[in-house]
């Protein structure tokens, strides 16, 4: 797959977007997001509080393992920001494979590549492949996100 590193997207960590993207011009194979981040304890605890995950047992050593879905959430954060996902966009499908437990404090890199970009009726459907590696260069998670956005806001 051809991979073109785009440098026109600037990551805005607070989740607020600026500018717009002509989604119709995004080609298959485009790296739409490439982010490095630390899975710090504060972010993981905030995530656990938000989803009220009862499978995390703080009294055990396993509490140093982040919930797998927190990896997905933090990885999607880069995609949401870098793709400048407009309001009204809907997340309609998700595939995830968790390949290795991730300890809190681990450095991760998520690369997101556009694998499909099509229009059906009044909506644009985009599929983004996610690849997350740890600082040992091991894959920890792979995924595929499908989003749907109105054509009228996706060709601005």
């Amino acid at each position: 797959m051809a991979s073109k590193k785009t440098d026109i997207f600037s990551y805005i960590p607070d989740g607020k977007h600026s500018g717009s993207i002509n989604y119709a011009e995004l080609e298959i194979g485009t790296v739409v997001s490439q982010q490095k981040y630390i899975l710090d304890r504060k972010s993981v605890q905030k995530y656990i509080s938000a989803v009220k995950d009862t499978s995390v047992k703080p009294e055990t050593s396993a509490s140093n393992i982040a919930p797998p879905m927190s990896i997905a959430a933090l990885s999607l954060r880069g995609v949401v920001n870098d793709l400048k996902i407009p309001g009204g966009t809907l997340h309609i499908g998700q595939e995830l494979s968790f390949l290795k437990p991730v300890r809190v404090g681990m450095h991760l890199e998520c690369v997101a590549i556009l694998s499909s970009n099509s229009v059906r009726g009044e909506y644009r459907f985009m599929v983004v492949d996610l690849n997350v590696k740890d600082d040992l260069n091991d894959h920890v998670m792979k995924g595929k996100s499908t989003i749907m956005l109105p054509v009228d806001i996706s060709v601005q």
Partner: protein, 133 residues
């Protein structure tokens, strides 16, 4: 553990505060989730919860059922069928559909489902995990 067995059920109430907290945790500030005026003009008529916040209950259920195996061999494939709204009570359930022996262990394939208090499907899909033989 055998075909037809249920996975551990998870029941949660979705609140506006939780949606806001998830927006902060995930960085997803799509106004459909957090802006009342924007959401009122949308096809939903009100704020909806983040799909991935609801999907987290599937991971929770699989983790409660299969333990750490979920962290290194879990797979999930889901469709977001309809939105969950603040005030909804969601139930996440599932069932073992098939168990396949391999050199790595036993792959346990499950169906997963998230419904609201009216029984409407919010998320449907499948998940799998490999457990030691």
């Amino acid at each position: 553990m055998q075909d037809g067995n249920p996975i551990i059920e998870v029941i949660k109430e979705i609140t506006s505060d939780q949606v806001l907290l998830y927006a902060e945790a995930s960085g997803d500030f799509n106004p459909i989730h957090i802006n009342k005026e924007f959401a009122e003009k949308s096809q939903f008529g009100r704020n909806i919860a983040h799909g991935m916040m609801v999907a987290a209950t599937i991971s929770e259920s699989m983790s409660l059922t299969f333990g750490e195996s979920w962290h290194h061999s879990g797979k999930v494939k889901i469709r977001f069928r309809s939105p969950a709204y603040p005030g909804d009570t969601i139930t996440t359930s599932g069932q073992i559909q098939k168990m396949v022996l391999s050199e790595e262990g036993t792959e346990v394939k499950c169906s997963v489902l998230v419904t609201n208090q009216a029984g409407e499907t919010i998320i449907s899909g499948s998940s799998s995990v490999i457990i030691s033989n």
